[in-house]
Symmetry: C2
Subunit: 399 residues, 2 copies
């Protein structure tokens, strides 16, 4: 089932998204996801030292393993806002508690947008009544709209399947589109499922799934202060409970990975100014960490990215970027292939067909395959190119 599915819903989840005037335009900027029953929760947060206020609050709240609502505003990140920002977030939390009539610790908070500006609490709190009143089973798409900033298209993925003898649904929503280099976390990604699963299994599976999806992407190598991924599992499918070390957990993990894979690829496709979707895969490394460093060194090189944007078959920049990764390399064993063409081996260029390589650089999807020839560990990164539109979008972002 693809993102095109009409009428996206997950049993027991209500959602809504409205405009309260935080964004200068009339676009939706306040969204809510609500589980009719308290749900198991797992979450991962950015490693940035300057975590935004809502993340500091959420980190404490998710420790209980249970949550029921996620409220998100766009247009203001409430990051680098100090004690005042923390109070602002708590004020939104208090108002939502009143309107939803649930315990405050079941509420998770999220903000995205400009860093360093105070949260417009008055606007948000005066809209919460309307937001709650409009909660509905088909509101997930509106909630997703409300968290978009520079995104050009919505990012929703859903899978249905049978797990533990019952039909379950997993639905994820995400926002991009810049400041994207997740580090053990992601931009904003929320996953809703009606699966019945215990906290330990949910935690384990969610971290594994994030690690192989959202932790393998980069748009601009910039790590956000507000990155966060949350999964809510309300158990309404009433399947045979999922626990760790069960075979049936594998089926759930596969579905979850599918959802997150679709979302994280959508985030890269919608990377600010992106014109290409590039996969950098590194194999033959001595350690996964070496493979990761190599893949990110290439993925985050502005010179590699601009060559892709310019359809310029300047493959030497990939080798230069790899050489700067700071990992031990046996140069003679390194190979580089692009779109199936072996370009570099034995420390020099092969006798490749230059016009065929030029064709590869023209494509919208490009696969860069690097083998280090020194081990059996691998890593891949999805990334985008660096274009004039990235500069345009980001030179004019806050003003």
């Amino acid at each position: 089932m693809s993102t095109k599915t009409k009428k996206i819903s997950v049993p027991g989840f209500l959602a809504n998204g409205i405009s309260v005037g935080i964004k200068p335009s009339d676009e939706k900027d306040l969204g809510l996801i609500f589980s009719t029953t308290p749900a198991k929760v797992a979450a991962v947060f950015t490693k940035n030292s300057f975590k935004a206020a809502p993340l500091i609050i959420n980190t404490e709240r998710v420790k209980r393993g249970i949550a029921q609502a996620i409220i998100t505003n766009s247009g203001c990140a409430n990051a680098a806002t100090g004690k005042e920002g923390y109070k602002d977030a708590l004020s939104v939390s208090a108002e939502l508690t009143n309107q939803l009539n649930i315990k405050e610790e079941l509420i998770l908070l999220s903000s995205t947008g400009v860093i360093g500006k105070r949260l417009p609490v008055k606007k948000i709190n005066s809209g919460i009544g309307k937001l709650v009143k409009g909660l509905n089973e088909l509101g997930i798409e509106d909630a997703q709209r409300a968290m978009m900033t520079t995104d050009k298209f919505p990012k929703i993925a859903i899978r249905k399947g049978t797990v533990g003898a019952k039909d379950i649904t997993i639905c994820g929503i995400a926002k991009g589109a810049g400041m994207i280099e997740p580090n053990m976390a992601t931009l904003l990604t929320y996953v809703m499922t009606d699966a019945l699963i215990d906290n330990k299994a949910l935690n384990t599976v969610f971290h594994q799934a994030i690690d192989s999806t959202f932790n393998c992407i980069s748009v601009d190598g910039c790590m956000s202060t507000n990155d966060m991924a949350i999964i809510l599992a309300n158990g309404l499918a009433n399947n045979n409970p999922l626990e760790r070390a069960q075979a049936r957990l594998q089926r759930f993990r596969d579905m979850l990975c599918d959802v997150l894979q679709e979302l994280c690829q959508a985030v890269v496709r919608d990377g600010e100014g992106a014109t290409k979707f590039i996969t950098i895969s590194v194999e033959g490394a001595k350690s996964r960490s070496d493979a990761r460093r190599a893949a990110y060194a290439v993925a985050n090189s502005n010179l590699v990215k601009t060559a892709f944007f310019g359809h310029d078959p300047n493959w030497g920049r990939i080798i230069a970027a790899l050489g700067s990764a700071g990992i031990p390399l046996e140069k003679e064993k390194v190979t580089l292939s692009m779109g199936g063409i072996l370009v570099f081996s034995q420390d020099g260029p092969t006798n490749f067909n230059a016009s065929k390589l030029k064709d590869i650089f023209q494509k919208d999807k490009i696969e860069v395959r690097i083998s280090l020839g020194g081990g059996d560990k691998s890593y891949y990164v999805y990334t985008s190119d660096l274009s004039h539109d990235y500069i345009k979008i980001n030179a004019e972002y806050s003003t």
Copy 2:
């Protein structure tokens, strides 16, 4: 004395620069620096794993501590070219040996330009006769011209002064302008001096001077395969010899630092597409390494760079970049000032004047000062902004 000085020369040094048709235009692309007497030499090379062929050869040759000539071509980097590239470089070396009639191990080689392409040895070698024949005392500017690639202006700095009871001259030339993030090395920088100095002192002083100048700049965070800095000291000034642990060595080091400081700032000012010269200084760090990581995390953030380009006072991006540096931070103690305006302290924005901050972002020279409040170590980085022209230059570089 500034770069505007006419008739730049250093006693005992001849130089020349000509066009042999490597570049598609008629611009100079082959340059030579020659000391009439064998000179003491010190050098630093890129840490890139895929060092270009000439660097591999030079690394061996400088071990003897003596050199007499540096030949440089632009238009082709002779990097990622394997054994063939190595042979190509040796072929140029052999031809130059014949023409100069000096020992081959006294010749240092250098190439800059597109990575992964074979060196046009025939063109180079057929021009070496003319190159040598035209060597002259006022040829340094021509030699500098011949090593320019995307540089918009030449980079030459010269200082004269009295050291060890004699007048000495130090003159440096450098090229930029992209793939600039030196790591214990630099782009291409050659320094010529007539000072009399022993090898140990020359090595020590040169490494110190590079460390506080060229190792503190970044244009695009990309480390080249061809970075190299070389100093030749031919001793013709016949000053009282400079040795390590001498007071008079300090005077020489100061002059050398002046020359390199002027050159490295010129490289940043001429960064590809640069419209601004930005100094990121980090103080109050527990270690110099922490301060360095913090400074480079900010300097290399595409989002920080595009904000500067767009005159967008989005200071929150600086905090976000700092938070991604992966160093321990006491958030409450961190302060951020820009152009003398305290913007961020105690984990939140100060009550700064927004219109004054906007004025700061309009300027061509911007100082960003970060204090970590956790120690007494510091570091600074010179960097540029990220503009449309960077994309334009690099999307069309090799083709």
